[in-house]
Symmetry: C2
Subunit: 437 residues, 2 copies
């Protein structure tokens, strides 16, 4: 597998049907940004404007965005932009001075989690949040072993890329990292027990090698493993297993958090577990680089006694004010309820399509995070998935693929996605399925 | 040494003379943010507004900021805020779509470095930049050994905190990390040879342990080691030594970069070296979380062939546009020249004071980055330094301390610092010295 093959929907230079102007931009990227950057699509997109669930290219064509979860309350939401600009024009400095904004925000966010989780720490990215979680867990547990799912993605620092196997075989795993099979929803009620058995086997293997387990960390909707939300509750036995081994259970909420599942603010809540740490990122500032950790106080006691944590931009007044505006919009526009209702409507529409198109396999979803497998009989069909993603781009719908077999359509629009948008998506998707399958 | 003692100028809870309102904020911080956060000063400051080189507390009192280097073109600069808000209202998305902003900025910044450095990669923080530099260096060199100075600070990821000894003895160093004595400017023309000999000894020790050297990374103004700019050129022999051993030389420009030294844009240029990688951060977006790496293309070739790098917020259209506005202000307001002239004026004023106050020892500086030692005879005087920093806070001047002995005043104002501001600083500093020494 080449490095480009390891990423679903990566542009391959020299292919595609680019305008002269876009080809020039691609050439400038290669010269200036170098070989590690990737574009999406067979023919990359040149975007210039965003509003709500729509993105616009340089020619003014509108694309329905069913992919980008960062602009969670809608692209360029005016309330969020105004809050950010207002604070940036007033005071922007860091957490070594007293300021209300970071406290108001923290207290407000902590009110959305179980009472056992009572501290909050700020970073700029989800990668930094997961990296900090590991530093804290190593101090608390005295262990170094890390357990993740086989196609997990948790970020890009040296430590975190080492437990993000979805980055592909060219990116080394850490020596104390063990991977376990992702939960298999086909097992139904047995999903949790089987997943926990995999986690226990990894714990045993770490122990056999003299490595003390530190953490089990999972994206609570298993986005990169193919979107696995159900049966709700399946996480509890695995969390128990890691704790029984002296490790911590970390819920990575960078993708499912902030209301996306439609079942409250957090993906872990669907599973009836209270994590030891919860990592936050992407949608937290609707694009402003703000992220963080929510923690049980006992797990950070030793870390805080032995050292300090300062992140120059983390929790600055602009970050906190911007993130608070995102919470305002989620509440005032009823976006969690919308995720629940529109998500159910969208999944139902997809299930109806699946009855007519055999290439469309199982639909899994929670709120506005839906995975739809593309199959050839019982087998995953990555090639057809790739054609579907690119045909949808031609039909002006943005989407991507995920999963270890790269055959799961990842449908994850901004949370302001309404029924009308779902109808547009379903209509264009049907046209693409008719043409391709 | 306790964790709080490891940080110069850290607030110790229970001390100080807080208003009832500020005491309540401190209590809220402890409850919400937990034990790893630190405030500045014996009595923490509650700030609410910033403009140019001034910060204002809740009572409307103005503080002259001679410390904060993030707001490098001045707190809340209206041009930077307007550029950020304008782009955020238009299009804010990431580097997997084509967009001009990230290319325009990269090309412009790359024009400020030697031609051998022709690629640019984007992160959100300096920590992420140094962490990425290490990932790239490990791929390129096949080595894992890291050499830093004894009181270096490079960031807070697991890997980077492992080569940031200034975080204190409670934060573990990485097992392949070796520390070397910081350059000693008292050695004059021999500074470079002695520093390189220390680096060579670390290379030999790594090799003796079967560890292949990967990087020598230094802050090119050695901020946390006590601000060591001279004699210019002293870095060249150490850079040669690490390269001869198959490793890379990384210039951490998070603190000296973007014009602060007054001798061009970059601290490394004063030393006549061309690094293999250059890391960027703090002042790059005047407070917006944007950072990155500039690289020789050959060092990232293997990393890019084996894997990809994507940082969700890194290099997004708002980050690039905001950072471009910072470059506009640096150019249009002549801030590099101002750093050179005002910095020289400030250093000269300090040297004049030093002739009258024996407690004020050697003054070292380049542009608007000045270190001034506080001494008792020939010995560092950390206790008096602490009193000076806090007395200046009472006199409404913000400053901090640095260095392995915590006896170096770190004078590092926004680059819009003018002669008038230097006069205010020198006047208040003289009053403090009279009262305390």
């Amino acid at each position: 597998m080449t490095a480009r093959e390891a990423m679903p929907n990566a542009y391959v230079p020299g292919q595609g049907n680019l305008s002269e102007g876009d080809a020039a931009l691609v050439a400038r990227r290669e010269r200036a940004l170098g070989p590690a950057y990737r574009l999406f699509y067979e023919t990359p997109l040149h975007l210039v404007r965003g509003e709500g669930v729509w993105l616009y290219d340089a020619a003014g064509e509108a694309y329905l965005d069913t992919y980008n979860n960062v602009a969670s309350v809608g692209h360029c939401h005016p309330r969020v932009v105004a809050a950010m600009a207002g604070q940036a024009a007033t005071f922007a400095s860091h957490t070594r001075y007293l300021h209300e904004a970071v406290l108001d925000y923290s207290e407000r966010l902590l009110a959305t989690v179980p009472a056992a989780l009572s501290h909050m720490m700020f970073t700029c990215t989800g990668s930094e949040a997961n990296d900090l979680a590991l530093r804290i867990a190593r101090e608390h547990t005295g262990g170094t072993g890390i357990i993740v799912t086989e196609n997990a993605y948790h970020g890009v620092t040296l430590a975190v890329s080492g437990f993000s196997p979805s980055l592909g075989p060219g990116v080394p795993l850490g020596e104390h990292v063990r991977t376990v099979p992702a939960p298999d929803p086909a097992l139904g009620a047995r999903t949790g027990a089987v997943f926990a058995a995999g986690v226990q086997a990894a714990i045993d293997d770490l122990t056999r090698h003299g490595i003390r387990p530190a953490v089990l960390i999972v994206d609570t909707i298993f986005s990169s493993d193919g979107v696995i939300p159900d049966p709700a509750g399946f996480l509890a036995p695995a969390a128990e297993a890691i704790r029984a081994a002296g490790g911590l259970f970390i819920a990575d909420e960078v993708q499912p958090g902030f209301g996306r599942t439609g079942a409250g603010m957090w993906g872990f809540a669907r599973h009836g577990v209270v994590p030891d740490m919860v990592s936050l990122g992407k949608p937290m500032g609707n694009g402003y680089p703000v992220a963080g950790l929510i923690l049980r106080p006992e797990v950070v006691a030793r870390f805080g006694a032995k050292g300090r944590y300062f992140n120059t931009f983390g929790g600055n007044a602009v970050a906190a004010t911007t993130a608070a505006a995102v919470l305002d919009v989620i509440e005032d526009e009823g976006l969690i309820e919308n995720a629940r209702l529109t998500g159910a409507y969208l999944a139902e529409g997809l299930r109806t399509l699946a009855t007519r198109f055999p290439a469309l396999g199982p639909i899994r979803g929670a709120g506005l995070f839906v995975g739809a497998d593309i199959v050839d009989g019982d087998a995953p069909d990555a090639a057809l998935t790739h054609r579907v993603v690119n045909a949808l781009r031609q039909a002006r719908v943005l989407i991507s693929a995920t999963g270890a077999s790269a055959n799961t359509l990842k449908i994850r629009p901004p949370l302001v996605f309404a029924r009308d948008h779902a109808d547009i998506f379903l209509d264009r998707f049907e046209t693409v399925l008719k043409a391709l399958s």
